[in-house]
Symmetry: D2
Subunit: 289 residues, 4 copies
């Protein structure tokens, strides 16, 4: 078999090594999820099952790729941030991007039943991915802030839109017209005066999206630490988040990626209240303890 | 919300428009499928369920992306060839590569049960992808020949290896040692003299892999044409294949991608014998007619 | 000296290997040559000294880099076409582009005095460069046609513009206004009716630019062949040029790049009439024989 | 003229926008300068005329491109560092690289006579260029340190080699053998014990190369400031250089690129001793005042 005769075609592949010493972001984004969410009757404006499934899939990716130090998800997109000094796959961008995207996709289908129960998956959902480099800590913070600001803008719009449609009885087109040209303050006002809704009291997971961090936390009534991937739903645009979780941007090569977190509110609130969305590294998915 | 303040980060994304007028290949490749196949007890040396699932997933990709004119799969990899003149996603390489990879992955999990029945999927399988350009028809033919030659070399090795292990009672290490340094002729001889196996009589899908083409075929006893994606398991290194399916490399913009195929052996053999692996564009999967 | 401590910075350099089996074009283009030509009082609309200097510099580049099979120049730009199969500098695009650009620039300054005689060079002229790939013969022909069409359009404009200014006494702004919105036919008419000029009788070097080819030609009254780089000023958009010089696109690896040319008109016309612009590989510049 | 028919070829050009917020280095490097220096009988181990010509050419480049904040040259190479936030040529890498390379080359030929006087330039010298990104201040400092360490290693070798050849009477091959496997300390010892030369007393321009900075300096006996490009020949690996010239890495958008420098030793030493190598922005070359 004249194998060697054809092997020259391998030389047509391009090298795609990423610039060293830059934060690497891989963002996956649902393909036609507007249609997909209608087909599967997602709740509007937000479907907790869908968000939990997105988060579960992202956790799977973080479990597999330890060089991801933080992830941020909203709606049908998720961003994964890899350490500046990662040498994973020799920093070949195609490999990094396609593995993360494929594992995320695979997990989305794999875990579907766990969240959507009797709702049958009707067709294979899929995602595109892009890979972007950010040279400085300021840049990567601004990137994450950009996505969280996007989450806010979209969620405020969607919350008002669906209030007008579901509670207000407007058609989709009427609701769209009503909101055309409005500012944030206008939408807040519509929600408050017409639907008795204070937007700021909406669930934080809707308004802030989900941040995934690695932590070592103490289980309640136990001496032992446990490595978990913790979902947070809070502001990451201000300084407070980065002061509290200062390890994210300052992690050193060879260091344990999981950090003690002794903040009582985190330990208590997250572990107790959000326990279903705490993900244990070992046991795949930690159901309510 | 100071959205605009952060939006500058979008400018860090890179343009990745592919050179026009080149064949585009996207090849997806299983991540650690050796381990994955063991965990799910794939039959050795080839598991028909796994091959059918790969083919089914590839068909799903071809159904979605009409600019794929031919696909070729073997083992845990699949190559998709897009028309030279495709303008899909404005020829942005990241988009093309990640959509195809993600849809393939998603389909693999989605259709798993259809082929593996009671065998439960234990973890989300995933795939990397690469994208490569080939300027000429000769280059793209050589690319496909390269993969088919690879299929042959691997399958001959695996067939002999597993014969030695399963039928010959050797341990994996003993079989590996036995085959170390052998030529194709040696392996053929081992199969023939020791296991009474003529390698050339092994199923063509194992020896040649699977070629997916778009065809309009006449259903038996019907006047109507039907657009299908046809799986072929034959040699594509020689001239014969390309003479028979000359449309693959000569398709014109705006042309119907499906070509009449009146070759009786194709109509008969493929439709009758391989019918379960003929895929109908409309009805997702066409089970035995 | 802790050399190794710093050497890691080399890893930040990017690989830039060009796709194999494509025609490679390097186009150099004068930086602010409008201003440069005014400063050095170039004749309008065309300065033969400047064109000859451009051609001489391009010949120097072709002498140095044998994988250039054809070059085309007009105004302050020059395009160099390298064989599809060239392995020069391992097809690293930066190397190819910057060497050609730098040698062209260097030659322009080096040979200045030879053409501009007593006109002193007042400041260092310089050029940018770009590198572009063309997969097929049709693409590379279209590329060259594009540049020659550009030459025609610009030269017809400039010829008319400067006729209006120099012979017609219009100011630059008046001439510009006069030509605004005119078609080729209008400009031809202005030249003919107002300045008694038949544009088609203008020198071909102005209307067609300069094509550089490698040829082996017989010197008049001699038995010996000589390798020269021949400047042609003729149409390359039509078929005739490519039929006459069919070797350009069909050169094979290892072949002598210089082709016998027995066309009597070429031998006679070029060697006798344009002799000053025939360039001998060995003796740098072959002055009138 | 069917111009539009061909214009599609422009779409084959690639976008090459550089990642924002990174230091940009363009390094030009002489092509076959070993041979070129022999042909023009450069003095060994260093030829002051050649170094001055390199520096003069680099100054020309810095005069033209204000976003270059520092340049470093040694032997036949020069590195230009552009501000992290430069938007020059819309950060298109090809443009930046080829303009700098071409202007440097052009200047080298243009100013040749000024330094080499009666020594005629025999052939056009030329340079390649590469462009590299460095995300952090530490990286760009390490890059410059890498080049200065290279300067030291090469110069110590060359100084010893040519001492052995010119003063010691060894042939080139004998000198090469003698130095094979030696350490820095060995070469220092050879110079000291055999040629009565203390390497540390060699001219700093040879041992440290040339750093070009923009400064506003007070002319002796004058109240006026003057913007100049100052050549320094000192260590830039240690902290001292960067403390003294802290503006280089901290320049802000819109700021005047020239900084007051009141260090008396600089004003005095540079202006008085090295005066011929101080370059005045306006008057091209400021000869001894």
């Amino acid at each position: 078999m004249a194998k060697s005769k054809f092997e020259y075609v391998k030389s047509f592949e391009t090298e795609d090594k990423l610039l060293p010493n830059c934060w690497i972001v891989v963002r996956v984004d649902g393909k036609s999820f507007h249609k997909f969410s209608e087909k599967h009757e997602f709740q509007k404006p937000n479907d907790m099952r869908a968000l939990d499934l997105m988060n579960r899939s992202a956790v799977k990716v973080m479990e597999q790729y330890k060089d991801i130090v933080i992830a941020y998800g909203e709606s049908d997109e998720y961003s994964f941030v890899l350490r500046k000094d990662t040498e994973i796959f020799n920093r070949r961008g195609f490999k990094i991007m396609t593995y993360i995207n494929s594992l995320f996709t695979s997990s989305y289908v794999f875990y579907w039943k766990q969240y959507f129960k009797e709702v049958k998956l009707k067709s294979p959902p899929y995602f595109d991915a892009r890979i972007v480099l950010y040279p400085t800590d300021e840049n990567i913070r601004d990137y994450l802030s950009w996505r969280q600001a996007d989450c806010h803008v979209n969620n405020l719009y969607n919350t008002t839109f669906w209030a007008l449609v579901i509670k207000g009885g407007l058609s989709n087109i009427e609701a769209e017209k009503r909101l055309c040209g409005t500012f944030s303050s206008d939408k807040n006002e519509i929600l408050f005066s017409e639907f008795n809704t204070n937007y700021n009291n909406e669930p934080e997971i809707f308004r802030k999206g989900t941040i995934l961090l690695r932590k070592r936390i103490k289980k309640p009534n136990s001496e032992h630490f446990k490595r978990v991937i913790v979902p947070l739903h809070e502001d990451l645009i201000g300084e407070k988040f980065w002061n509290t979780h200062s390890e994210v941007l300052s992690i050193k090569p060879g260091q344990d990626y999981y950090f003690n977190d002794t903040l009582p509110d985190l330990v208590k609130c997250q572990l107790c209240i959000n326990t279903k969305r705490n993900y244990d590294e070992k046991n795949n998915l930690k159901e309510a303890e």
